[in-house]
């Protein structure tokens, strides 16, 4: 299962996050998950995700932070979308906890040439 947090910098808006993520991902969202076992960060800068490929262990919370002057999104590739971030304006963050192994491709729906991958071991 994927668990979603949303907020500026910290997962302080948990209630709002569950609501947004529930709409986006339907049955894939699990309310009330175990605490993440590790943290990892992806910077969004100069219209790119860095690192563009990130390998993490199960249970890691990945946080994307937008350092550009332009808004971006972090949206799972594929149909249906596994997750969909709201628009991230400058300095906004978005976090996901990856509980299951797999290769998760994502992109920015505003600038679809921006692509990234999270590999969960």
């Amino acid at each position: 299962m994927l668990v979603f947090w949303l907020g500026r910098r910290l997962a302080v808006r948990f209630a709002a996050a569950v609501l947004v993520a529930s709409v986006a991902a339907g049955a894939l969202v699990r309310h009330g998950a175990a605490a993440p076992t590790a943290d990892a960060a992806v910077a969004i800068a100069d219209f790119a995700f860095g690192p563009s490929t990130l390998a993490v262990k199960r249970g890691t919370k990945v946080t994307w932070t937008n350092k550009d002057d332009e808004p971006h999104t972090v949206v799972a590739d594929g149909d249906p979308r596994l997750w969909k971030s709201p628009p991230l304006d400058t300095d906004d963050s978005f976090s996901l906890v990856f509980d299951h192994p797999g290769t998760y491709k994502y992109f920015c729906t505003i600038h679809p040439r921006m692509q990234g991958t999270v590999i969960v071991e």
Binding site: F47, D69, E70, P71, K84, P87, D89, P112, Q115
Partner: protein
């Protein structure tokens, strides 16, 4: 006198021959298509009337970057210039809002309505974030389904295309097969002399694919437009005026009213907002006036500093 009579008859016959022949030899241009006078006579019922309209683009209401501390004021400035020229209506080529937030749509709607001009919209990618355009189409939509539509004004056929929804990872703008099939059908009955104006947010041609400044299947749409004598494609998205002319098709992008962007591929630049000194900002924002006179479509761009 018989001589005169014979002469007169000859002259009359000659005139008749000329009239018959003139259908094939006297040509004029209507909607960019050369035609005989006789054909023009047939088409006269649908003749274009002279009128003008305006284009405004990339208003990005909700933009909070210090590059432009007052996007609402910039839009008001742009609308004042537009209304002063008394156009019949206005096209908005997308990115009405910056983040597709409800309050941004509210503000933009109020500012635009104050211009008291009928406005035809197409969405930009900023307008459809998170909901595939649900809010945008609820407020500005003119059709059911995918949001594309067409209308006629004084003999000119206007086509509104949507190329910012369901974008694919790694791609640029996208029209999709359903919309391109609709376009084919929409244009099917039209005479080649009908002036066509197409408007869509992202450029239909590849301005700079590395920055996503183009439409993946734009060529498929342009293929259906090639047979027309006068085609004008109006786009936004890149916040600057760039034109491409190919055959009878003129494609031109527009200024934003909110912030400029760098020239395509400029060294060290990205497709984000371009930082410019405050005193130079207005010279890099602007609006467009489009005059339709005797079937010719003339575009004039003016900055907010002019």
């Amino acid at each position: 006198m018989p001589h005169d009579r014979v002469d007169g008859t000859t002259r009359r016959k000659a005139m008749q021959c000329l009239m018959l022949g003139s259908a094939g030899v006297l040509w004029t241009v209507k909607g960019g298509v050369p035609q005989s006078l006789q054909l023009v006579g047939d088409a006269a019922a649908a003749e274009t009337g002279d009128f003008s309209f305006a284009q405004v683009s990339d208003t990005h209401i909700g933009f909070k970057n210090p590059i432009n501390p007052d996007p609402n004021g910039s839009l008001n400035d742009a609308l004042a210039r537009i209304t002063a020229a008394k156009p019949r209506f206005m096209l908005h080529t997308g990115d009405v809002t910056h983040l597709a937030k409800p309050e941004e749509f509210d503000t933009a709607d109020q500012l635009l309505k104050a211009a008291k001009l009928e406005t035809f919209h197409v969405p930009g990618e900023h307008d459809v974030i998170g909901d595939d355009g649900k809010q945008f189409f609820a407020r500005f939509g003119r059709s059911k389904g995918g949001g594309w539509y067409s209308f006629d004004q004084d003999g000119v056929h206007f086509v509104a295309l949507v190329n910012v929804v369901n974008l694919k990872a790694g791609g640029q703008g996208s029209l999709g097969r359903e919309q391109i099939e609709w376009l084919e059908g929409d244009l099917k009955g039209k005479s080649a002399s009908t002036p066509i104006v197409v408007f869509a947010h992202m450029p239909l041609w590849a301005v700079y694919p590395q920055w996503g400044w183009g439409t993946d299947d734009g060529d498929a749409a342009l293929a259906y437009l090639k047979r027309f004598g006068s085609v004008t494609v109006l786009n936004g998205h890149i916040h600057q005026v760039i034109q491409k002319v190919e055959g009878n098709i003129t494609c031109r992008t527009a200024y934003s009213t909110c912030f400029p962007q760098a020239a395509p591929g400029a060294a060290g630049a990205s497709p984000g907002p371009l930082k410019v000194p405050a005193e130079k900002l207005k010279a890099m924002l602007g609006v467009r006036r489009v005059d339709v006179v005797a079937d010719k479509v003339a575009l004039s761009d003016a900055t907010l500093a002019s």
